[in-house]
Symmetry: C2
Subunit: 142 residues, 2 copies
């Protein structure tokens, strides 16, 4: 599905995103990640295999939650939850992390460190199926 | 298990907490909540039944993730993930929400609104079993 413009705006503010994956026993696992959008997928870069990538290969169902900078009409903080399915692809992690490091850490930051820059790394790609949270991306049910 | 002092300090900073529960089909559900500590439980107040309370009654496994205000030695933002089991008790939601509204929204805020103040509401109580994330509450494995 298309990612709404209002969600793209939230991602542009460099929110720390809480990624839930499912362990082999079905229990939840959470990692805080930097996030970007490519086309209509949410993308997360990492240099090595992680619990989250093993989890995604076992069960692709994930949820990604991030605060917006805006307030709801009731005065509560808005936030986006992305529900979808993830897959892990190899390669491309260095340019993604470099781009995101400048957005999240500062305009002159070099990341990842030189010793990692020759590795392909991995990208976790999330195809959204539904948007939750509080904001225009999740209109109240009538 | 005991809640470490460093985790109590994070909760005192009024972090928005991302609560993952499990839907009936095993998929993840996330809600952003205010959180407090009572004894060695994390507590979340709500006036009515919610998807999260139905989920917890079906499968008590939850994860609760919140950003700290501190940075790791590597220069990355620290965060706490609480893994544990939740139960829902009736009553006590109004004083809990009133206390948290003043911490999260401002020292003079009255919450919940008057029409809700005669209801008992519910408290979701999380008994921690393990702490994850980045910080002294989750020392690196050797």
């Amino acid at each position: 599905m298309r990612i709404p413009d209002a969600v793209r705006t939230v991602v542009d503010t460099a929110p720390f995103a809480h990624l839930t994956t499912l362990n082999a026993d079905g229990g939840p696992q959470i990692t805080v990640v930097w996030v970007d959008i490519e086309g209509d997928e949410f993308v997360i870069g990492h240099m090595g295999e992680r619990r989250k990538t093993r989890n995604v290969r076992h069960d692709p169902r994930v949820a990604l939650s991030m605060l917006a900078t805006t307030m709801s009409p009731m005065g509560l903080r808005e936030y986006v939850v992305v529900y979808g399915r993830a897959r892990v692809t190899e390669g491309g992690a260095v340019p993604l992390l470099q781009k995101l490091a400048r957005r999240y850490l500062g305009p002159n930051v070099d990341f990842p460190p030189p010793q990692f820059r020759e590795q392909p790394g991995f990208i976790t790609r999330i195809t959204p199926e539904r948007f939750g949270g509080v904001g225009v991306w999740n209109p109240p049910k009538r």
